[in-house]
């Protein structure tokens, strides 16, 4: 069971949350200048790393707000929790950014 610290509500069990997938995906634009290949990559491609992953989570059964989580996909260790508007934290080998 993951315990995720919602930035507003504090630590809660994973069943209260929904994972929204990879974070920091930049929409290409302006639209009339984006070719099909770029648009297709934007819509579908994933980094899908084994290791640290920056992803969006929704506190669906709580405050219903989105936030970012840095989580290791192999160990499930949560390295950082940060707001949607924040830049990705620098993650060292130890400790968390928050």
């Amino acid at each position: 069971m993951l315990q995720i610290s919602c930035p507003w509500c504090g630590p809660r069990d994973e069943i209260e949350f929904r994972c929204g997938g990879q974070s920091h995906v930049i929409r290409p634009g302006p639209p009339e200048e984006v070719d099909d290949a770029t648009w297709g990559r934007y819509l579908s491609e994933k980094i899908n790393p084994r290791g640290d992953h920056l992803e969006r989570w929704l506190h669906a059964a709580g405050c219903r707000r989105w936030f970012n989580v840095a989580r290791d996909t192999a160990t499930h260790r949560i390295r950082a929790v940060y707001h949607m508007v924040e830049a990705a934290p620098a993650i060292g080998d130890e400790g968390s950014a928050r």
Binding site: D36, E55, A74, H76
Partner: protein, 416 residues
């Protein structure tokens, strides 16, 4: 050595001391005509069809651990072709037909048991969808029957059919020719048959990188057992496809998730079919040893950990206890998870990658086992002829640029 009743009898007379290992464990040669990364069902089937159909025998299958130790050993062994779109139906039906002849083809009993598969309908709307699905399947030349609640009650007596059931049953969709097979036997059968044709199966050999020529095409791989050269490389590594793609410098539309499965203690026969409840995502069959083999939904966040978490366990087993009350006190023997490669449209990616010489067989998501024979057939064709197999054409990576998706997630109501 050919396996037969006579061989078994003769070995019995000789005290069982004459059996030979079913495949060799060769050291890697410096170069091959084709390298296949991933010694699961898909990789070994690819090697087998390369050697048998196309006469390409200088083939190496590189496996990080032991063959069949990944998803081939972690699935719930269901084989079916109840898909909605023509492209999918053709492909999965081809696979089902290959399974029907596989024991004879490989001279290895894969224990394919066509016990049928029932997808339950829990509401009048589900009934309408089941009829629509049955119609689509028949149009695609796949057998499909609609079962009334009475027929389901007779066929699956342990299912709670009472009016006050938490998940009332209004009917079901039956594919009679669906069933299960012994997962290890499929892997071992292909391994033995490929080895007999000269394929080198190299275990404990992890690919750590690709060697590229001046034009960017692959010319070999770096492995934990040294470099190996080949100009045609197939990748059949399921949930780890994104990692191989990263080594080659491109990305895939794949998210890796953990899919859990469970097996109970052995019971007397209580279930002679495969049964799926779309409402709970739980599917179940009973193995020949008597264990109930249970699968459910994904742990819905990206994962490379080959284990799942408790909330999904509770959902799956709670649904089993609710729908099959007599199983409520059955104990589980094992629980595990495999890492599945889920694509937005729940259809596989077969064929060319952005890197010349590197070819893909991935994106099977939660349903790769049933596709082992056809996955091997299609990737072998691609590697041998450098053109897509006829069945694989709609499933190219290109579809994420053109938008010609084959959305079985919506079409056939796959839970994940």
């Amino acid at each position: 050595m050919r396996y037969s009743a006579w061989t078994v009898f003769r070995q019995g007379l000789g005290g069982q001391r004459g059996w030979k290992p079913a495949w060799r464990s060769p050291d890697p040669k410096p170069d091959y005509e084709v390298i296949i990364i991933g010694g699961g069902g898909h990789g070994l089937a690819t090697a087998y069809y390369l050697a048998k159909t196309y006469g390409i025998r200088r083939v190496a299958v590189l496996e990080k651990g032991w063959i069949g130790g990944g998803n081939s050993g972690r699935n719930t062994t269901a084989i079916r072709s109840n898909y909605y779109y023509r492209a999918s139906a053709r492909m999965y039906e081809h696979s089902l037909k290959l399974y029907e002849g596989l024991s004879k083809e490989l001279n290895y009993n894969v224990m394919f048991s066509q016990r049928g598969m029932i997808s339950l309908a829990h509401s009048p709307h589900d009934v309408e969808l089941a009829h629509r699905q049955a119609g689509a399947m028949r149009l695609n030349g796949v057998d499909a029957d609609f079962l009334s609640p009475g027929e389901i009650a007779r066929r699956v007596p342990i299912l709670d059919m009472s009016p006050e059931a938490r998940f009332p049953v209004f009917g079901g969709l039956l594919q009679k020719r669906a069933g299960t097979a012994r997962h290890d036997a499929v892997v071992w059968g292909y391994a033995r048959a490929a080895d007999a044709l000269g394929v080198d199966i190299i275990q404990n050999c992890e690919v750590t990188g690709f060697r590229r020529g001046a034009d960017g095409a692959v010319i070999g791989v770096e492995t934990s057992r040294g470099p190996i050269a080949a100009t045609r490389i197939g990748v059949a590594v399921a949930g780890h496809s994104s990692r191989l793609a990263e080594m080659a410098g491109f990305r895939l539309p794949i998210t890796s998730y953990a899919l859990q499965a469970f097996v109970s203690e052995p019971l007397k026969p209580v279930l002679d079919t495969v049964i799926l409840s779309p409402a709970t995502g739980v599917y179940m069959s009973q193995s020949d040893k008597g264990g109930l083999v249970i699968g459910g939904g994904l742990d819905l966040y990206p994962s490379y950990a080959q284990r799942g978490n408790m909330p999904v366990i509770r959902n799956v087993l709670g649904a089993v206890a609710a729908q099959y009350p007599s199983l409520g006190r059955v104990r589980l023997l094992r629980q595990w998870a495999g890492i599945v490669d889920v694509v937005p449209d729940s259809s596989p990616i077969i064929g060319a990658s952005p890197v010349p010489g590197l070819f893909l067989d991935c994106g099977w998501g939660t349903g790769g086992f049933k596709a082992i024979p056809v996955g091997g057939t299609m990737l072998a064709h691609q590697l041998a002829t450098l053109t897509p197999h006829e069945l694989a054409e709609p499933f190219s990576l290109e579809r994420f640029t053109t938008g010609a998706l084959i959305d079985e997630a919506a079409g056939s109501g796959i839970a994940h």
